[in-house]
């Protein structure tokens, strides 16, 4: 019930039925985009959007900013860990 995979919407196949074609690493499939369209985001505007695909439906639009933020945090914290280790090592060397 959790298997969702990021994919990119490459075309709208039916505005009326809210159907689009998504590309996941080169594999393509028709998906239903009813969960991600509204007055601010009509079907045509979804081309190029990255979405989470689950059982043939686009469930949400992936928040690119948030994704970048998470990756940055992961990286920064990782670097901090390196720095801490380096500091510890230099303390040991000097003592």
């Amino acid at each position: 019930m959790c298997l969702g995979i990021p994919g990119k919407i490459i075309e709208i196949t039916s505005t009326e039925n809210k159907l689009a074609r998504v590309d996941v690493a080169g594999v393509k499939r028709q998906i239903n985009i009813a969960c991600i369209v509204d007055d601010d985001h009509p079907p045509e505007s979804c081309v190029g959007d990255w979405v989470l695909v689950h059982v043939g439906f686009a469930m949400v639009r992936i928040n690119e900013e948030e994704a970048t933020r998470t990756l940055e945090l992961l990286r920064k914290m990782g670097e901090m860990q390196d720095e801490i280790k380096a500091m510890q090592k230099s303390e040991e060397d000097n003592s």
Partner: protein, 325 residues
């Protein structure tokens, strides 16, 4: 029936051993014993659905599958038989296409289809077409390949991208409505194996990773030899699209079927040379050393994941099914 046999099948396979249309093909024993000291003999039946798929058809599978089974014993494949069970109403054109494919694949591997049988059964008694092929080949004296021969210190070699055939068939079946350009990797591995044996006559284990995939073969080796095979996930080549199919459906590519992939376990000191030789051939251009044989835990396959952790790779239970979780 005789028309069917003569017009379509014999015409396609056309060779001196077959043309007399005797009830049996005959070979000079002396000719065979010149090539080696053991006869390899194998058979397989092919019931793939759909009959035609990107990268091949039931014909290419039935010829290469049996050739590969012979090649995995170190044998030079020589002759095939082929039996057809055809469902009434199957278009002649379909049969012609399949036999044409079989002829082409047999020619590529210098193998002759020398005898066979055809039966037509009522509608519904068979699913379009079933094919059986049996094959014989000769194993040279110095070759001793067995799944019991893996030893700690040996290295494990894989010849290319995994999962292509399994993914191609899944997509070709149509019920998952996926579009992709993935093609089956169906090919003869006979030439590749001969090249490998030339630089390393002492290959310990060799098997093609068909149903059950790479994971199943490695488990078979580990269990038969009583050793542990440690593999590195980062060394295993997989196409983006096959990865995509696996991610969408929640499948593990290690268990997907292949029709042109082999795994070899060789002594450590000749592994590099074997891989270099393999890379000269198209069937082996993406060859990699993917793991090594160690003592423990015995009869297990352990994989270092792309993330750095370790996990067991077990035998497949039943058929791998797409999941939603």
């Amino acid at each position: 029936m005789r028309d069917l046999i003569e017009n379509v099948i014999v015409k396609s396979f056309d060779n001196p051993a077959l043309t007399p249309l005797e009830d049996q093909a005959r070979f000079d024993l002396k000719e065979l014993t010149c090539r080696g000291d053991r006869l390899a003999f194998t058979t397989d039946s092919y019931v793939v659905d759909p009959l035609f798929f990107p990268g091949g058809d039931i014909g290419t599978l039935s010829v290469n599958g049996t050739i590969n089974d012979l090649a995995m014993g170190g044998a030079v494949p020589l002759y095939l038989s082929c039996g057809f069970i055809l469902e009434e109403g199957l278009p002649i054109e379909t049969l012609r296409q399949v036999t044409e494919s079989m002829k082409q694949e047999a020619e590529k591997s210098q193998v002759s289809i020398v005898t066979g049988d055809t039966k037509v059964v009522p509608r519904g008694a068979a699913d379009k077409m079933f094919v059986n092929t049996a094959g014989i080949g000769v194993i040279p004296k110095e070759v001793d390949i067995a799944s019991t021969r893996a030893k700690p210190g040996d290295l494990v070699i894989l010849n290319g991208f995994i999962g292509d055939h399994g993914a191609a068939i899944l997509i070709a079946r149509g019920d998952l409505s996926l579009e992709s350009s993935v093609e089956s990797d169906c090919q003869s591995l006979s030439r590749l194996v001969q090249a490998m044996l030339k630089v390393c006559p002492d290959i310990h284990c060799l098997r093609d990773a068909t149903r059950g995939g790479v994971a199943t073969v490695l488990n078979e080796f580990a269990q038969s030899s009583g050793v542990c095979i440690k593999m590195d996930e980062t060394k295993i080549p997989i196409r983006d699209e096959v990865r995509g199919v696996c991610e969408i459906l929640g499948l593990d590519p290690l268990y997907l079927a292949n029709e042109g992939i082999l795994l070899a376990i060789v002594p450590r000191d000749c592994a590099e040379q074997v891989v270099e030789t393999m890379r000269f051939l198209p069937e082996g251009q993406n060859s990699m050393i993917i793991g090594e044989v160690v003592e423990a835990p015995a009869k297990r396959v352990v994989m270092k994941t792309s993330f750095g952790g370790e996990r067991i790779v077990d035998m497949m239970v039943g058929e791998q099914l797409p999941r939603i979780c």
